[in-house]
């Protein structure tokens, strides 16, 4: 078990010239967590990670490692291991020398270095490549060397900057599982950066969604996906059908909303979510996979039923992605068709059906 650390950021901000690329970042990451910064390109994820690693000095706020402020501790004394997006393997050293580098810096004895390097290479399934140069390895192997090189020094925190983004889709999926297993095995506090929402949802214990230098929502993968706090999160994490409307009736567990294009939608409160008042303007969110499509003549028991016309479809193997026009708006539906059943075709009239429990209520970002 490694000496996992707790990471805390208080009001961290960073600007280049006049432009703030990080603003008022507060967060607390517990020991052993797998914490992910998720956000679109250019939102400041790398900057935040590099601030924790000590390569960037924040212009305001404080970074704490295990409760100690480290703003003035240089990168080489922070004992946080970072894996760079491009792996940054030293081309003039062999795999062995790359992995042994940090241990040499720590004045570990030769025999101990040998033992730990071999163990680390075994851990990432790279035994036998120790004599090779990084350029003689495949992308996935390079990525694992980079990981081994950082893990072998048993840092307090592991920082990963989009480590899987240079790999092809299949390898990425494999490495994702490997990474998860490895992290749970060694129990190290891990901070992970990605713009891939699937990756974030699959790996993390908690996710911080970032937008232009701010953290807009923090929570477990389920919270982020099922209860996005605002329009940005709803649209960035997964796909969404959004409806802007006014509450016409608010009951105990159910509200009725009239949308701006004249649709009637009922939404159920999930336990603990904030109450809404009649007359309030709200944003509703329905995930495409929560929608069912029915032929217009089929009866249904669901309380939400919108009629529209199929405009496009994309067959995806496991499901079919439909685009349906409802009162001048394009809505999305992901439908799983049992084998052999016919698909709806463009021009078909359909009913979109979904339960009030599947309607999310966004409080911000109207």
């Amino acid at each position: 078990m490694m000496k996992a650390a707790q990471v805390r950021l208080e009001n961290v901000g960073k600007r280049y010239g006049k432009q703030w690329v990080l603003r008022q970042v507060h967060l607390q990451i517990e020991q052993g967590e797998f914490y992910t910064f998720l956000g679109p390109s250019g939102c400041g994820k790398t900057t935040l990670l590099r601030t924790i690693a000590g390569f960037i000095a924040p212009d305001e706020g404080t970074v704490y490692l295990d409760g100690t402020p480290v703003n003035h501790v240089p990168p080489w004394r922070r004992d946080v291991g970072m894996v760079f997006q491009n792996y940054a393997l030293w081309p003039h050293m062999s795999v062995y020398e790359n992995v042994a580098f940090g241990l040499r810096e720590r004045k570990v004895t030769r025999a101990e270095i040998d033992r730990r390097v071999m163990q680390a290479l075994e851990q990432v399934d790279l035994k036998g490549t120790e004599g090779r140069r990084p350029s003689q390895l495949s992308g996935g192997q390079q990525q694992r060397v980079a990981l081994a090189r950082t893990l072998v020094i048993q840092p307090r925190v592991l920082l990963l900057d989009e480590p899987l983004s240079n790999l092809d889709a299949k390898l990425r999926a494999e490495m994702r599982l490997e990474l998860l297993k490895l992290q749970r095995e060694v129990g190290i506090t891990t901070i992970y950066v990605t713009h891939d929402q699937e990756e974030a949802l699959a790996l993390s214990t908690r996710i911080a969604v970032m937008e232009s230098g701010r953290i807009v929502q923090e929570g477990s993968p389920r919270e982020i996906y099922e209860e996005p706090g605002d329009r940005f999160v709803a649209e960035f994490v997964g796909k969404s059908n959004l409806f802007l409307g006014t509450i016409t009736r608010a009951a105990d567990a159910l509200i009725e909303v009239r949308t701006d294009n004249g649709l009637q939608i009922r939404a159920a409160f999930s336990v603990g979510s904030a109450r809404a008042q009649q007359g309030e303007t709200v944003l509703l969110n329905v995930r495409p996979e929560a929608v069912e499509l029915k032929p217009p003549d089929a009866g249904t028991s669901e309380m939400n039923q919108l009629s529209g016309r199929v405009t496009a479809l994309a067959y995806q193997g496991s499901s079919v992605e439909y685009e349906i026009e409802v009162r001048g708006r394009a809505l999305k539906a992901h439908i799983v068709h049992p084998k052999g059943t016919p698909l709806f075709q463009p021009g078909d009239e359909v009913h979109l059906v979904f339960a009030p429990q599947n309607v999310g209520l966004l409080h911000h970002g109207l």
Binding site: A53, F55, P74, P75, W76, R77, D79, V80, G81, M82, F84, Q85, N86, A88, W90, P91, H92, F101, G102, E105, R106, S135, R149, T150, I153
Partner: protein, 568 residues
């Protein structure tokens, strides 16, 4: 109808290949005649006895003679010393330039070009006046402290002049390879606990080494090629001056001269080969994350850096100051500063003997023009044709980099002397065109590289997409290719022009008559007499101005990448 159309589509590429083939053949013919054959003749003379049989006896004799042995050792030594002292100045400067941001950094850029605009043999004269036995510094030292230092005596004078002239080559190459190091490689090491001097030794140094080595080897080649500096300083125990002396005093049939030439070529070829190896290595660490942030430095560290730059700048400005003063002096000897000033020297070179300047402009512009044409044609054939023999073409077009001027000149004298060249009205060696040819061939590698690099950036898909959108070959070339490569081609031509302006190694042996001599030759001739030195210096100032103008234009065309012109 369909039949003739098919015939047309088949014939079209065939005809184009034929054209390419014709151009290729003529280029190869020219390069063989003026590069390969003369050099091979030199080689053959050194390897054959009177009966025409193969022998190594001339090389055995070469190493038997103490004078040649000494020249051999001195040549190696001077190259190594220049690289060593040059690196002491160049590496710290390169590091500052690639890593730090500070007020006054512009001085660094000045420092990288200033020494290059003054030809080393001109600088040699100027440094004599300042650091020589009876020069400014020693006179002052004698007057106040009654000591003097033999800065400029013998080999040390040559090394001093060449170090001050050539260190920017090392600096530029090192700076480029430092700047190319992916910053994350160093950050990763910091992340692992490594910093400061250890970081430099374990990561930075090994990664910048290939670029540094390439720069050093290229400097080495130029140092052993330099004939003018030792001649001006009257130090002759080096290989290039020995070859020159054998051929000019003993005669064109003196075999020892040829043996020396071959030794020089072997040195240069080995260095060039190694430099290319290192240059290809230098690119291996260049996957970039993006913006490289230069570290700002202030206060005491900035003062320290500026102080170092100031010292080097002051040293490398000495030749410029000396030559400038000399060009306005009536007489300057055994005095700290010139005793009286005059404009006569400029009248002399501009009105009484204006042919030096005129000749230089004529020869170098012609040579640069020819270089651009040939360079562009060669680059095109190398990159865009499928003709066999391209590697051969590339090899002989690169060869001049490793052929010292003396050797090429000896080869020309050997091959073109004594028979009437068609159209020249006599032997080619009696015609001024021989100088244009020598310049064209010596500087061809620069334009080939420049055109090659420019054309390489025009990815084939850019041309193809234009054709795909309906432009024919001619239109594609005029609208897409030409505009994109113009910058590189012009820059290549400018470099050929600039470097030809100050060529002396081949010039000095090839000038048929004094009236046909260019500036560099004029400087050499004037400097032979104490009275002519002022006029020689005035010519030197003209050369500096020409080179500065050319360099300035190169920077304008090349922009920030001007330094790449000095990495071959």
């Amino acid at each position: 109808m369909p039949k003739s159309e098919a015939a047309l589509t088949i014939r079209l590429p065939a005809r184009i290949d034929w054209w390419q083939g014709a151009i290729m053949m003529s280029l190869i013919a020219i390069l063989v005649a003026f590069i390969l054959y003369p050099v091979l003749r030199v080689l053959w003379v050194s390897l054959s006895d009177e009966k025409g049989d193969l022998t190594l006896i001339h090389f055995v004799n070469f190493f038997r003679r103490p004078l040649f042995r000494e020249a051999f050792v001195n040549t190696l030594l001077s190259g190594l010393l220049v690289v060593f002292f040059g690196s002491l100045m160049a590496v710290p400067l390169a590091y500052c330039s690639a890593r730090y941001e500070f007020r006054g950094k512009i001085l660094l850029q000045t420092l990288a070009t200033l020494p290059l605009v003054i030809p080393p043999f001109v600088g040699a004269v100027a440094l004599q006046l300042i650091l020589g036995r009876s020069g400014m510094v020693n006179l002052l030292l004698m007057r106040y402290f009654d000591v003097s230092f033999p800065f400029m005596e013998g080999l040390s004078g040559v090394v001093l002049v060449q170090t001050l002239h050539y260190f920017p080559f090392i600096m530029l190459n090192t700076a480029v390879s430092l700047a190319n190091i992916d910053p994350s490689l160093e950050e990763m090491a910091q992340n692992m606990g490594c910093h400061g001097w250890r970081l430099f030794r374990r990561i930075t140094l090994p990664l910048m080494l290939p670029g540094f080595m390439a720069g050093s080897l290229l400097t080495f080649i130029r140092v052993i090629d330099d004939l003018g500096t030792p001649l001006m300083l009257n130090y002759k125990i080096l290989l290039a001056p020995q070859a020159y002396l054998r051929i000019t005093t003993v005669g064109i049939d003196d075999v020892d001269g040829y043996a020396i030439c071959v030794v020089l070529v072997v040195f240069s070829l080995l260095s060039l080969y190694a430099a290319r190896k290192y240059l290809s290595l230098a690119d291996y660490a260049t996957a970039h994350r993006g913006v490289v942030v230069l570290k700002p430095i202030r206060g005491i560290r900035r003062a320290f850096v500026l102080g170092f730059i100031g010292i080097v700048l002051g040293l490398s400005l000495l030749p410029h100051i000396g030559i400038f003063l000399l060009s306005f002096s009536k007489i300057w000897s055994f005095s700290v500063l010139p005793t009286s000033y005059t404009l006569d020297n400029y009248t002399e070179i501009l009105f009484r003997a204006p042919h030096f300047v005129k000749n230089t402009l004529l020869y170098t512009l012609l040579a640069a023009g020819l270089d651009v044409l040939m360079g562009a044609a060669i680059a095109f054939l190398l990159l865009r044709s499928r003709l066999p023999g391209r590697n051969f073409l590339d090899a002989i077009a690169t060869l001049p980099l490793a052929i010292p001027g003396v050797v090429l000149a000896v080869g020309y004298l050997r091959v073109f002397h004594g028979w009437d060249f068609p159209g020249a009205g006599g032997p080619l060696t009696s015609h001024w065109m021989i100088l244009v040819i020598a310049y064209t061939m010596r500087r061809l590698p620069y334009t080939v590289r420049a055109c090659y690099a420019a054309l390489q950036q025009v990815h084939l898909s850019l041309e193809e997409s234009a054709q795909n959108l309906g432009a024919n070959r001619m239109k594609t070339f005029l609208k897409i290719t030409l505009p994109l490569i113009t910058g590189g081609v012009v820059a290549g031509g400018l470099i050929a022009f600039v470097t030809s302006c100050v060529e002396l190694s081949a010039t000095i042996m090839l000038v048929p008559k004094v009236e046909m001599g260019p500036i560099s030759y004029g400087i050499y001739v004037y400097m032979q007499s104490a009275l002519g030195r002022g006029a020689g210096a005035a010519l030197g100032v003209v050369a500096i101005l020409l080179v500065s103008a050319g360099t300035y234009l190169t920077h304008r065309v090349f922009g920030g990448r001007a330094g790449s012109a000095f990495r071959i």
